[in-house]
Symmetry: C2
Subunit: 281 residues, 2 copies
């Protein structure tokens, strides 16, 4: 991923230099790369070429990174550290951070629509549609809006579940679906994979809530213990630690069950499902 | 356009209400709608169906509006009024403004990639590619970055020309090219239209610089006389009023010359070229 971002974001020798430096700062050298891993693990099930998977991974990681840059801004979640480095608005300034996010947002769709990603334009248009829906008001950005309104709102479990399904679940789902789109799997053939993605998305978020309380800031590379300070309900605050752990473990088993139609070729997806709980960052 | 935005942005009954209200505030009831007009005027040359032109217009206006919302933020151009109304971060708050911009950005690509826009997926993928390039770091957002660095930088005429070609020219060019893409005109058949768009884009910007100095704030619906205050070079500061007016008139004639291959069916494009200079907002 780092090499791909390095090639994509060659610094021009003009007044846009800082803009590219900011995008490079945010994208190169860090992150779990969970969404790219899901694209590759799913694409492999259907024999998709590695270079198509790499380009789609790059596009989805562009969207994920743009959302981190914007969410970290002072008027949003106000974070100073991300992936063990200063956030973009700290390393540069707020205006550059907003524009770097906007540019990664546009680059994601430029990558997907380019003929180099897939020879079939119907596949490219489908990938764009999937990613746009997953990242807009009915997906990731809509979830972030709900999260901004969560403070002191006393959201109940169904509302927190919906918030997280939008905020983190939609893009995780898009990563899995994109691997299948590249494999020419029609929508009705993706039901199991969609269930898998929904379950690991929620398990991932419950694990995040637990890490926020129990984790190590150095390993996480960002500030923790923020949700409680802000009076936001989370899976942890609503379920308690023991039930949250049980729920996450149950979701991982359920995610793996959704893969019953696949043999050993889906073992990477099964490993990723277990990793969502075992990670320390 | 207002009716289209009203249908696109139906307010959901959940914590995302403000997000939709903010998008509605920014998109409904205002703006010159220059880019939609260019899409329609160009598409008409090639007999493109009106509903396809309407959807592409909506997508490009989503991008234009997202850029206004983000550019108006305090850490960017810091504007309180836009189209005669409070800017989004004034009417709502900065976090909502950032997310409303991000959502309109994603919606633009969702609209273009949807099969309802055009039955041919190759056309849809081309539209996405064109708009992504026009709005990202090599287009609009790159131009805004240059503009942020213009303050006190003493940019020369070629640099200001490049800044404006990116900041406003790229999206104006995209509007014209999109009309041609919908008409299945191959890239090599769009040279004249591309020249037309480049020339009216620059004429439009020179007129903007003149309006910034000579215009009426009420008619413009926004604060004027800002560039001079901020020590930014503009076409006007570099050329002086008389030469700036001459240059703009010359560009309009040149734009109309680019349409020599078309008959009366291009009269709307010719009228738009003249309008770029005659407008009061």
């Amino acid at each position: 991923m780092d090499r791909q971002f390095d090639l994509l974001l060659r610094r021009p020798d003009d007044p846009r230099g800082d803009l590219y430096d900011a995008m490079r700062h945010a994208t190169i050298g860090g992150g779990k790369r969970l969404r790219p891993l899901l694209v590759h693990a799913t694409g492999r099930l259907f024999g998709v070429a590695a270079d198509a998977l790499a380009r789609v991974s790059l596009a989805i990681e562009c969207i994920h990174t743009y959302s981190l840059i914007h969410d970290d801004l002072p008027m949003m979640d106000d974070d100073d550290m991300r992936r063990g480095k200063p956030t973009v608005h700290k390393a540069f300034d707020e205006a550059t951070a907003i524009l770097a996010g906007d540019c990664l947002h546009a680059l994601a769709f430029e990558i997907l629509a380019d003929a180099a990603t897939h020879s079939d334009p119907a596949v490219r248009a489908d990938l764009v549609l999937e990613l746009a829906r997953a990242s807009g008001p009915t997906g990731m950005a809509g979830g972030q809006m709900m999260d901004l309104r969560a403070q002191g709102a006393g959201f109940d479990l169904p509302t927190v579940t919906r918030l997280q399904a939008l905020k983190t679940g939609a893009l995780i789902g898009c990563a899995v679906e994109s691997g299948a789109i590249l494999g020419h799997v029609p929508p009705e053939g993706r039901t199991g994979l969609r269930g898998y993605a929904r379950d690991i998305g929620l398990a991932f978020q419950i694990a995040d809530d637990i890490l926020d309380v129990e984790g190590d800031e150095e390993a996480a590379g960002k500030k923790l213990r923020k949700d409680g300070d802000r009076g936001k309900e989370t899976f942890l605050s609503l379920l308690g630690l023991e039930r949250a752990r049980e729920q996450a473990a149950m979701l991982v088993e359920q995610a793996i069950d959704h893969l019953h139609g696949f043999g050993t070729e889906a073992d990477l997806l099964r490993t990723i499902a277990r990793y969502t709980l075992e990670r320390d960052r």
